[in-house]
Symmetry: C2
DNA sequence: GGTTTACTTGAACGATCGCTCAAGCAATAA
DNA sequence: TTATTGCTTGAGCGATCGTTCAAGTAAACC
């Protein structure tokens, strides 16, 4: 076992995050991991197999960050900081502003079924993470008690998606911060009923 | 001139929208357009050249829809209908829920510079379209006069992006409609100031 | 020491990629 | 009729794709 497993996954994550599933060729992967094709295939069976592990690692990492937010003394302000960190990093980490999962959804039917499943399940996992945050905010009296947590969680996830696309193209950090403020405002205001 | 230009672009749009830039191979394109490679290259120079025209056609079409919304007797309710139509189409047109431009942004650095420029300019065009809608709403007393139109336009575009990703994965139309209602509510409420 | 086991290596396979170009075709001009 | 022009054709180019596999290496167990 010449190569460290976690180290491999992390390097692969960076590559897939930057280039996407299709555009990251096996030869790019071989170079990024400093491994020969045989070694890669012996461990991960296929490019898709490696990608699946990357997605799961990414989701796990994201989920633990969300958990930290939920467990903060002030979940709402921790949420604001979380958004800020994710969306206004330095320029050389600009690729990180895009959510790996959302980027993958754009090429969902080019990715095989195994990784596809991992992506959709990861989306679900993150939604749960957002839900925990909303509930923590309610418990901490930072959000009204009548806040519909399930709906607010999905909404929050959507906001995150929209903001990531925005931040990716936006050069002015203050514009991003303003959008984050709007999210926090809207999170506190009223919610629609089901009626249609 | 055996083939009709608009007809070509429309068929190509469908293909790129469904599959994305990379995944749509030249042989897929040849089949979809019922054209041989030579004919395609004689007209469009390259796959990227064709894609550029597709993007511009898409943006132009979207912009005219947004203009219709802005010119409606009630821009705000027209906006709601616009969102609903874009996000809750029948299942065989599910691919249309994803915004072609956003999908393209996910593979931006795999696309050449010419089409890349077209994509970014199109994003700008659509932002202008959203701005016109917000201003029309204000003029029609459907939104408060102090609404910051520039900010609200960017915000509205973000909402559209987030909702499209949501609608793509969501099977329940009522959940999407609920999110749309939330957008309309938030559009009317307060906006953050610049302070930071 | 010998055998097994787990991992690594890299040349090379068949398939597919975007794209080229000599040749063919039909309509118009001379 | 012949020449020219604009569009179309499709075999096939070189490059790259994901993947395979026989051979090599080194540590572990008997």
């Amino acid at each position: 076992m010449k190569y460290d497993h976690d180290d491999i996954i992390e390097k692969a994550t960076t590559l897939f995050w930057q280039r996407g599933f299709q555009a990251a060729g096996m030869r790019d992967i071989q170079q990024a991991l400093d491994m020969r094709p045989g070694s890669i295939y012996a461990r991960f069976q296929s490019k898709e197999g490696l990608f699946k592990l990357v997605v799961e690692h990414y989701a796990q990492n994201s989920a633990s960050r969300l958990k930290q937010v939920a467990e903060a003394s002030s979940p709402l302000s921790a949420l604001r900081v979380f958004f800020k960190n994710a969306l206004t990093g330095p320029d050389e980490q600009r690729y990180m502003r895009q959510c790996l999962l959302i980027k993958s959804i754009a090429e969902l039917d080019v990715i095989g079924d195994i990784a596809k499943k991992a992506i959709l399940e990861s989306m679900q996992t993150l939604k749960e993470g957002f839900k925990d945050i909303v509930e923590a905010c309610v418990k901490n009296d930072e959000l009204p008690v009548h806040t519909p947590t399930e709906l607010a969680a999905e909404w929050l996830q959507n906001q995150f998606v929209g903001l990531r696309a925005f931040a990716l193209l936006q050069d002015e950090p203050s514009a991003v911060l303003q959008m984050i403020d709007k999210v926090i405002i809207d999170l506190k205001t009223q919610w629609p009923s089901l009626s249609h």
